[in-house]
Amino acid sequence: MKISILVNEGPYTHQASDSAYQFAKAALEKGHEVFRVFFYNDGVNNGTRLTVPPQDDRNIQKNWSELAEKHKLDLVVCIAAAQRRGILDEGEAKRHGKGEGSANIAPGFRISGLGQLIEMGIESDRLVVFGD
């Protein structure tokens, strides 16, 4: 079955991203297709490559990036929400004059518009929401 996931909260502060990750992993293990994971609201903060969690803690961003690589997952960060919260890819960083090297989007994530959220609602058999 084609399943999509919406994540509304950032890493560590709320359990939402952990729950979404465990759910996505289990869905893939059961042979379902994860059509897309959309990160909205503070959820965009999952997509920063700059996190350095304590050594004895899980690395939530890395978990997502690795899952994306392994299963060709589509991890989409909402552009409007990302701009408000300071998550930029190279194009965005340049466009807003933030300086060389300041793009902070993590591997496996891409920035796109809210239309991607609507589209995944249309295209997927199931949509599951995780938030605060």
């Binding site: 079955m1 409007a80 809210l114 239309g115 609507i118 949509l127 938030g131």
Partner: protein
């Protein structure tokens, strides 16, 4: 009303529009969820799907009239609700019990209307006050529920 536990229906074909319900349970301004939900509604209106908004619990506060955010220094987004009719978003289900619990009547909410193109562009109210049990039934009829 209940879904069968083990036999999900086949997904609709791509060309069949789906029923989207945006469920608003939070007050405006204390958190950004109401505003960012509205941004999704605006984008989603372009997709030719069936769209409705539900206002329950503190979500009913999103529709109060007379919102004035000048002193707060944040954007007043309540007028945007009134513009939704032009985008074909004309179903605002507002829960009666949620209003009553909060001391609100329909008079405390702003008027939201749309022009019905199937009825000589007559101006009609977008807000429909529904009971809690009607709201529960409305939720069951959707294809996609969006919660923020």
């Amino acid at each position: 009303m209940a879904e069968p536990a083990k036999s999900p229906p086949a997904p609709p074909a791509k060309s069949t529009p789906k029923k989207f319900l945006y469920v608003n349970r939070r007050a405006p301004y204390g958190t950004i969820y109401a505003l960012e939900s509205l941004e999704v509604v605006l984008i989603g209106a372009a997709f030719d799907q069936h769209v409705a908004l539900a206002f329950i619990d503190d979500g009913v506060f999103q529709l109060t009239k007379g919102q004035d955010t000048k002193s707060l220094g944040v954007k007043n987004f309540s007028p945007t609700f009134r513009a939704l009719g032009d985008y074909g978003v004309t179903k605002f289900y507002v829960e009666k019990e949620s209003m009553q619990e909060r001391g609100l009547t329909l008079d405390d909410l702003q008027a939201v209307t749309y022009e019905d193109e199937n009825d000589g562009f007559k101006e009609k109210p977008s807000i429909q006050v529904v009971s809690r049990s009607e709201m529960g039934a409305i939720m069951q009829q959707q294809d996609v529920l969006l919660n923020f």
